[in-house]
Symmetry: C2
Subunit: 401 residues, 2 copies
């Protein structure tokens, strides 16, 4: 299948072979400063219900969960879940009567429009899954890629419920022959005088991704708020956030990927300085990743026993183990999973009890997948600073007194 | 083991044999009216953060989730989780610095006090579990038992994290010989001039319940709010709410059950009109239960396809299947589980797609446990209206136009 994580991994290996990923593995002081300065910004009106103290507001369209805010319950509460919008959300009035929202289906035997009320009759499913922005970890890169300088918190583990896309497709007579992509369109208003293709939120994924996809009307037990794509959002377990189209108004099975800029040139992995093109890997399945959430480096640590904990997930082969290092990767110890296993698209929580004497520590984690893959040490340098899963940059520096 | 659900079941069978449970199986109009009138009361200050529109406020110490508010994500958001206090909660200032809260341990080899900060060093676990008031379903009884007239919503599926009690016990050298109970004490202020034994929140459970118990500081991803027992609550997966002692300030392993009224005479299952005594079954493990959350009977239903869904759980043998009836129990159809399986103490969500023509329906569900037990049709009449799991009273009457 073109453009999957495997392609990104091939890209990674090419880069590594060329030595392009060597050096510059440390934190960017500029990015750190930018993060700190951004923390003082107010929440935008559509996200005013959120808990500002536990968030970093990069901008009105980029709001990050603080590392220390994730807690240990397994699910990321909506009050602290990150927000990322590519263009302004529609008017809040669209969430007043969620059941009335209409979505159009095409590329099926009998194309038609359906309301959310119609969809609620067709089927019901619920999934726990990681939602993560493609650029999560951008703040660790050194080349000043534009966009929110996320560290770890443009990700969360969330519960969605809605109708399985495949149940809707079955109702509409199945996918038409020859279709290779599921192409979904968001309901944002295109500003007048702008070529829609340059800004429309329209994403294509391999059509087989419909297997686990939901058209969801509920997030964490409540109707989806506007900030997270309500009244209806396409969620594709295992895929980066951008593919989870908010305010979804059209789902079409298509022969080709959409020509929208966000697909054809946006969210493409390519070398620094290059423009995005359709031939480059697209941000589809999420790679293998973990990070430590405690210690978070935000508070002094007393000597003695400490529970080092964090989260691990993968969009492909499931996570089977996590190791923790206290010395910046020189040595590793096996952590243990704790809490409910919410399924292969959720994150697992891990913990390692340690005893820390006075001194300096560089604490990080690496996930290991069922297929044997190990979370890599280094980021893959790329123009838009996507897909960062290198364990070195994600380390927390801690001083124990 | 004395006083477990098995004893309550024996009690049930005795009553059934005596014919005491026959008749009066319908809804109590008085109780229904009481519920409706109570809905207009305001939220008390310590629960002011909650979503009043999705709750029924019986009193400042009894707040219920509406049946239609549970949604389909699997976890009950803290904003809609029921509240039940037996006496007034402590001052809100105790949650200002959770790590400073102290809890005393006794009945172990080396008794001592520990702060929450100390506990956080000793271990970490997280559990998804149903929290349910012993009196949930009281509003369906016909004999006007005192207390909140709960229907279905004095229950929720919640995520807790904290330290395993057994990790603390191990740190303190183990439980002393001869101890048969784990006896825990809440931190509420005893009003002056009152014999503490008459009001203290002190509960004993079989000491083996420590196996799955946590001393929890986090609920659904956030520090436990005062309304739910923060800064520290004892949670015992599978046990009725009252045993999950809030603001816990002492955990002792004891030879005998506490003499506190809430243990010796309170939360005892006995015939209507009788006083509570230590010999009667205590409200410990929860029985096998399910109820439908949609349709909820709160909105008109259009003819055609509908997804009937609900929740099912048990404090003992895990739920293995759920059946749904549309005709008040004359016929049953197998429902299907959906969403994440969060472990044996969580509730499972079930769904049955149906086609409903115009007419009247009485929709209900019954859970079946791994050990073959089937959720019963009728409630067990008892003085305090506890432990209601009869499927008939929990039915929803629906008219389809």
């Amino acid at each position: 299948m073109p453009g999957t994580r495997r392609e990104i991994d091939l890209y990674r290996r090419r880069l590594l072979a060329a030595g392009a990923a060597a050096g510059a593995a440390g934190l960017s002081p500029a990015a750190r400063a930018q993060g700190a300065a951004a923390a003082a910004k107010p929440l935008p009106p559509f996200a005013s219900f959120k808990d500002a103290d536990r968030l970093i507001v990069h901008s009105a369209s980029g709001i990050e969960t603080k590392r220390e805010a994730f807690g240990t319950s397994g699910i990321t509460d909506t009050d602290i879940l990150f927000v990322r919008n590519n263009i302004n959300p529609p008017d809040a009035s669209i969430t007043a009567n969620p059941d009335a929202w209409q979505v159009e289906f095409d590329g099926v035997t009998t194309p038609r429009k359906m309301s959310v009320a119609d969809l609620k009759r067709l089927g019901l499913a619920s999934v726990a899954m990681v939602l993560q922005c493609s650029g999560n970890g951008r703040g660790f890169f050194g080349h000043k890629a534009s966009g929110s300088q996320w560290k770890v918190g443009a990700a969360g583990n969330t519960l969605w419920s809605g109708v399985p896309v495949k149940a809707v497709v079955a109702e509409l007579g199945g996918v038409r022959g020859g279709m290779r992509y599921m192409t979904s369109t968001g309901g944002e208003t295109i500003p007048p005088g702008i070529d829609p293709k340059t800004v429309v939120m329209e994403r294509s994924v391999p059509w087989t991704a419909m297997e686990g996809a939901l058209l969801a009307w509920e997030l964490n037990g409540e109707p989806i708020p506007l900030a997270h794509g309500g009244p209806l959002r396409l969620v594709i377990p295992g895929y980066y956030g951008v593919n989870n189209v908010k305010y979804v108004q059209r789902v079409a099975f298509t022969e080709e990927e959409t020509g929208a800029a966000i697909q054809s040139s946006g969210y493409r992995v390519r070398p620094i300085g290059q423009k995005g093109t359709p031939g480059q890997p697209s941000m589809w399945e999420m790679n293998l990743k973990s990070f430590v959430t405690h210690p978070a480096g935000n508070a002094p640590l007393r000597a003695g026993a400490t529970q080092v904990h964090g989260v691990a997930w993968s969009g492909e082969s499931p996570v089977s183990a996590v190791e923790v290092s206290l010395d910046g990767g020189k040595s590793w110890r096996a952590a243990r999973f704790f809490g409910p296993d919410m399924g292969r698209h959720a994150w697992r929580q891990f913990v390692l009890p340690v005893r820390l004497g006075a001194g300096s520590y560089e604490i990080t984690s690496r996930a290991i997948a069922e297929d044997g893959e190990v979370q890599p040490e280094l980021r893959v340098e790329n123009e838009r600073a996507y897909a960062h899963n290198g364990w070195r940059d994600h380390a927390v520096k801690v001083t124990v007194a």
